[in-house]
Each structure stands twice: as C-alpha cells, then as structure tokens.
C-alpha cells in the first residue's frame, strides 16, 4: 500500500469515517500521555533534562560536519565499516552490496523508520533476499503491507482483535485476541528466523560522537537478537541522529522513553560498539554503519528549520496532537507523521508533494509543549506554509483573495466599506452565509449591523 503525502486531504476524510481506527488511536494516545505525565511528575529534573537535551542536540547539529567526521573516525577505530549515502537509492545499493558480498539470503530487521524512509524492505525482497520485520508492531504492519502509523508504536491504529484476525488470515493460526498468546505466535514464527538469518538490519536511536557507538532502544529484545545473532549487522542511520558524548547519553536515555511510552527506561538499551573482538563467537563479525543524508543537509541550511533535525522520534507530539488523535498516522501519507511529520514532509519531499502537510495543524502548540527537544513545531509550520506559498503551490483563488484583502487592510475606509457587505449579504440570505464545509455542523456567527467602531462612537457620544 503506497501512500502519498499529497493525498492527505482524502486520507483525513477517510480516517474520520473509520470509527474503529479513531477509537484505537484515541485510547492508545491517551494511555501513553497519561503514563508520560506520571513519569514527568515524579522527575524533578524534567525541564533541566529537556534543556540539556536541546542544547546537546543544537551543538551537534550546528556543527554536523565536524561531528560526523569524528563519529566516523571513532566508529572505524572500533572496527566498524562506515558508508555514506547521499540519498535513498545509494543507501539501498550499499545495503544490497554488503548482502551480495557476503552471500546473504535472509535478513532480520528490527524496527527502523529510516529504513522505512528509504523503502528498504521491498527493495531487498525484490532482490530475492528474504527480509523480515521482527518488532511485533512492525511485523503486524508488514503482514498487512502497511507502513507504521506511529513513530514508536507502528500498529497503534490496530486493536488486539484486529491483530488476532490478521494472524489468523496471514499465518493460518487459530484466532485469539489474548495478547500473551498473540505474542507467543509471533515469537515462535520469529525465533527460527533469527537463528537462521545471515544479516541483521537495525536503525539507530543515537550515534555517540565521542565513542563511535550506535545506541538502539527497544522493549522486545528483537533488536538485540537482530544485531547480535547474525554474522553481519547493518545499522542505517540518518546523519542527524548524533549525540555529542557518552556522558550525555543518559539524558537521552531518559527523555526518549518517558516521552514515548511513559517508561522510565526501555527494557533494553543496546550499545553497539563494533564487531566481536575475539573469536568468542559472540556478536557479529562485521558491523556496518550507513550514514544517510537523503535531504537532511538541505534542512541544515536553514538556521530556523534545522531545529526539526533535533527530533529523536519519540512520538509524544503525535500523542498530544488533537489532529493526530482524530485521524492517526496514515492520514499524513508518509513515514514521518503527526506534527513533526508535517514539518518534515515538505522539507524532504518538496513543496509540491508536501504542499498540504504544513497546513494539517491548527497551530495549537501542544506539540511544542510536550516535545522533549522543545522543537518549536508551530513556528516551523508557519515558515513552511510560507515556503509553499512562495513556491506557487497555494490555490490561485486564495492568492487573489489575500491580495485583495491586503490592499483593503491598507485602506481603512475601503476596508470598512468592504466589510459592510457581508453583513448585508448575510441578512439577505437570512443568516445562511455561504461557508461550504465550515457550516455543515456549525451555526455561523452573525455579522453585526453597525460594528464595534460605530457602537463605540455612539457610546462615547451618549456618555458626554
């Protein structure tokens, strides 16, 4: 199922009609928010952590070139192979190259949005390499040929009943909706694959600059098995995923899980520091890091918008967003969704494909309030809306309307005259002022006969 960001209007309409998805999304987001709030409430240093995290990320991103060079050196010192990929196609062929060089036939993958971004799964499968998602949520959406609907909870839009049905239909097992039984089914299917896999692919949550290691957080142990069991581990990482130092890593190890799921800590923290050093047989023999640009360096060029690169993909902005809560992640039409997705879509996909994304927001600011990196998402959306307009991607009728409005706003007498008409018009139509869509479920406000200015002047006159 290929989604397109330019179809978001249709997806939103469709999603609003799907009560089952809306219920599932609403429940899941409210639960995550409540757990997060609990953990934040008992952490007296939460705001300090946010500041530290923001400053650390700013430091890394503002001098990304130096930091990447250092990271590369440290990774090489640790025995890893570092690859640079300008775009998705390059990243895919690098991964395929590693697979071909090592006669890889089967791959296990742990959940990674970056590999979703570059459509790695389908590519490898088409190249004849069996590629299996091992994170439960991601496994479920892969069975459905969908993309994740949430940054940290890929199958958030599905209920356990849905999962029961999917497993029954796709895996031929008996229907059950008991979570532990569902988990057991998935585990049984996946364990054999882990042991047989030639290569493991993961994403990276944090690339630690000063020590050249890749940190991967998870709850199910699938990432640990993916990176630890096969002979080859490939970590695909966006170039913005760096954190400056091992000393500062704990800040992020706190901020991410609390924000994402309301956990004090994830169940597993995997720190990949290179291939096995002795012939103990433990750990992979090769570790490859693929550093992906794919548009990130373009984002970096804008001093304001580069803040969107601070995102650690926790998904808290999705959970708290009154729009995401209504429509879920697929409505945005891309792998990064919700408020932060709305900033990334036009930046990665361009202002034509992404012309609606920055407008899928009421600019309420709940995202900025919750963001562990304090990314000023509404402010960035405003700038991106301007970019869409400057690129000539807004509707001609809107452009013309704004031009007329701007002219009137500079001429108060004409402005007053022009604003006199809607009131008359509304009266003529007995209050049913035409506002397609808006008034479907809402009564309209009434234009006042006189307006404030006139009434105020009357009040002044009478009081004298």
């Amino acid at each position: 199922m290929e989604l397109r960001a330019s179809e978001t209007k249709q997806y939103i309409k469709k999603a609003l009609k799907d009560d089952a998805v809306r219920d599932a999304v609403d429940k899941a987001t409210q639960t995550a928010l409540a757990k997060r709030a609990e953990k934040v409430a008992i952490n007296p240093f939460w705001e300090e952590l946010r500041k530290l995290g923001h400053a650390a990320k700013r430091g890394v991103v503002e001098r990304l070139d130096e930091n990447l060079a250092r990271f590369e050196t440290e990774c090489r010192n640790n025995g890893m192979t570092v690859h640079w990929a300008r775009d998705a196609a390059e990243a895919r062929s690098i991964v395929l190259g590693i697979a071909r060089d090592n006669n890889v036939r089967t791959v296990v993958k742990s959940k990674s949005l970056t590999t979703e971004e570059i459509h790695l799964n389908k590519f490898l499968i088409n190249e004849g390499i069996e590629t299996l998602e091992t994170d439960l949520g991601e496994y479920i959406v892969q069975l459905l040929d969908q993309i994740p609907s949430h940054l940290t909870a890929p199958a958030l839009h599905l209920t356990r009943k849905d999962v029961g049905r999917i497993f029954h239909e796709k895996l031929g097992v008996e229907y059950t909706e008991v979570p532990t039984e569902l988990l057991a089914i998935a585990r049984a299917k996946l364990r054999e694959k882990f042991l047989a896999a030639d290569m493991g692919i993961s994403g990276v949550n944090f690339g630690v600059v000063d020590s050249g290691c890749c940190v991967i957080l998870e709850n199910e142990c699938n990432a640990r098995l993916s990176v630890g069991v096969p002979k080859i581990h490939v970590a695909v990482m966006g170039i913005e995923k760096l954190v400056p130092s091992f000393d500062l890593l704990p800040v992020f190890l706190k901020l991410l899980p609390v924000s994402a799921t309301g956990q004090k800590q994830t169940v597993y923290v995997n720190i990949v520091g290179g291939p096995q050093r002795s012939r103990s047989g433990e750990g992979p023999e090769q570790v490859h890091v693929v550093l992906l640009d794919n548009g990130r360096s373009k984002i970096l060029a804008d001093p304001q918008l580069r803040e969107t690169l601070f995102c650690i993909r926790c998904g808290a902005c999705l959970n708290t967003c009154p729009i995401y809560q209504q429509v879920g992640g697929h409505a945005y039409g891309w792998v990064y969704m919700g408020p932060i997705g709305a900033t990334l879509i036009p930046q990665y996909l361009g202002t034509h494909e992404g012309r609606y994304a920055p407008f899928t927001s009421s600019l309420c600011g709940a995202c900025r309030q919750i963001c562990p990196m304090s990314i000023d998402i509404p402010h960035h959306l405003l700038k991106l809306r301007n970019r869409v307009v400057e690129a000539g991607e807004s509707m001609a009728v809107e452009r013309a309307g704004i031009a007329v409005w701007a002219f009137l706003a500079k001429h108060p007498l004409l402005y007053r005259l022009a604003t006199w008409f809607p009131g008359r018009f509304q009266k003529l139509l007995k209050g049913s002022f035409p506002a397609p869509g808006y008034s479907a479920e809402r009564a309209l406000g009434r234009f006042d006969d006189k307006g404030f200015r006139k009434r105020f002047l009357e009040l002044e006159k009478n009081s004298r």
């Binding site: 209007k9 939103i12 309409k13 609003l16 009154p322 729009i323 209504q326 429509v327 920055p358 407008f359 899928t360 927001s361 009421s362 600019l363 309420c364 600011g365 709940a366 900025r368 309030q369 405003l382 700038k383 809306r385 301007n386 869409v388 307009v389 400057e390 807004s394 809107e398 704004i402 031009a403 409005w405 701007a406 706003a409 500079k410 108060p412 402005y415 604003t419 809607p422 009131g423 506002a435 397609p436 869509g437 808006y438 008034s439 479907a440 479920e441 809402r442 009564a443 309209l444 406000g445 009434r446 234009f447 006042d448 006189k450 307006g451 404030f452 200015r453 009434r455 105020f456 009040l459």
Partner: protein, 245 residues
C-alpha cells in the same frame, strides 16, 4: 498616588464585525477599573489570517501600517490572545522596513491581551460583582501557549464571589478552529469542536467562558447547531455582566 492608565484599543476583525459586544464590554470593564480609553482611528487587521496561511510578503505593508499606527501608545489592549500573539511574536518573522524595527520592538512590549492587562499590569484580580451560574473556561491555544496566559482569566473568573467555576476535562484542548484551518479541513475541524463541546457539556457548566472570539464563535456554532445547552461568553462580557455595567 493614582496613576491614570491610558489604553489604546485594538479591536480585531472578528470583534469589530461579528462580536462587538465583547469589545464594548471590555471598554466598560477597563473604564470601571479606572483606565482611560482611546480608539485609534484607521485600524484594520493585524494580518494574522494571511500570515497563518503563508502569505508573509502580502502582510508586510499591513504590519508596517499597524506598527506605525500603534507604536507611540503606552498600552494597547485587545480582547484576543491570538491577535496579540501575532503582533508580539510573529511580527518578528517579517522583513519590515529597517526604520520600523525599533518601533516593532517597542510595540511588542506594550500590546496586551485584556485579562493579562487587568491582572498583570493593573494588578486587579478580584473585581467582585455577581454571576450566580456554573461556568467553565476554555484555554485558547495562542493565548495559553504563545503568550502563556492561563492563570489570569481564571483569577478573574474566581474573583466573582458567587460564581461556580468548574474545570472541564482537557481545558487546553484545541477547539479546532485554527482560522483558515477550519475551512481548509472542515471535517477535521468539526470533529475537533465536537469533542470540545462534549467536554464542555460533561462539565455541567451553563457557560463556557473564553478570551478569544474566534474560538467562541466555533464552539458556540457547534453548541447551537446541536441543541446543546451550554452558552459561550467572552470573559469581558462575563465581567461586565457580573459588575452590572
């Protein structure tokens, strides 16, 4: 020592044309607490709808005009958080004439939202009066999250001795208006306001108080169309009513 506070009114579009009562009641309340009111002739729009729609170039002259018109005033007060946020924060995103840069800064420090002005500048929190009804309060997003104003309106509401103030669930949940958002994504906007109105209804309040006419228009429109009992009231209307002004 009595200091006379001179207040220049900024009456945003929606107040001017659809909800003049809220702005008139603001005038009455400000006078009641001793402010001297001035209406600045020639004011039009701050430019927010166009800015939020992405038309920065178009609004530069509108903003420049606004700055010239108001920047010599000691205090400018508006019955809307989002319009104040536009001037105080978002004007800084515009490439205005260099000659106006200082004036913009001065203006940003002198434009106030109504409840902010009453509580933070005039130091008035309990105005007294009487309003023996159950009310709840909706946090408008720009007022709450751009300007950080959420205590002031509640302080003023609680300052009415016989009022019964109840918080609704998620008072800071967006009502779904969002200006042009409401016609760009009408179905989504309606789903959001429906949720807000259910929360208002569940609070049992007779009145939903707000400080932005835009959100109130959205909420009131849904409540009325769906025959829900709660009414909306701008906080200036509430205060004027409770004081019998």
């Amino acid at each position: 020592m009595t200091v006379i506070m001179r207040v220049a009114l900024f009456v945003p579009c929606l107040s001017e044309h659809l909800y003049p009562k809220a702005a008139l009641d603001m005038v009455k309340v400000l006078r009641h607490v001793g402010a001297e009111i001035e209406y600045v002739e020639g004011q039009t729009c701050c430019g927010q709808p166009a800015f939020n729609s992405g038309y920065r170039k178009d609004i530069i002259p509108v903003a420049e005009r606004f700055i010239e018109l108001f920047s010599d005033k000691d205090a400018i007060v508006a019955p809307s958080g989002s319009c104040v946020a536009m001037v105080r924060k978002f004007y800084f995103d515009l490439d205005i004439r260099p000659a106006l840069v200082e004036a913009r800064k001065r203006l940003a420090g002198r434009i106030y939202e109504f409840t902010e002005y009453l509580v933070d500048v005039m130091g008035r929190d309990a105005l007294g009066g009487s309003f023996p009804h159950t009310v709840t309060y909706h946090d408008s997003c720009h007022l709450n999250r751009e300007l950080g104003i959420n205590v002031q309106p509640r302080t003023l509401i609680r300052g009415i001795p016989d009022i019964d103030f109840v918080e609704m669930g998620m008072p800071d949940l967006c009502c779904g208006f969002g200006g042009t958002f409401s016609y760009k994504f009408p179905e989504l906007s309606i789903a959001m306001v429906a949720r807000k109105c259910r929360l208002i209804e569940a609070s049992g309040a007779e009145y939903c108080i707000g400080a932005d006419s835009s959100c109130l228009m959205n909420i009131e429109g849904y409540l009325r169309k769906h025959g829900m009992k709660a009414k909306t009231l701008h906080i200036a209307e509430l205060l004027a009513e409770s004081l019998g002004l």
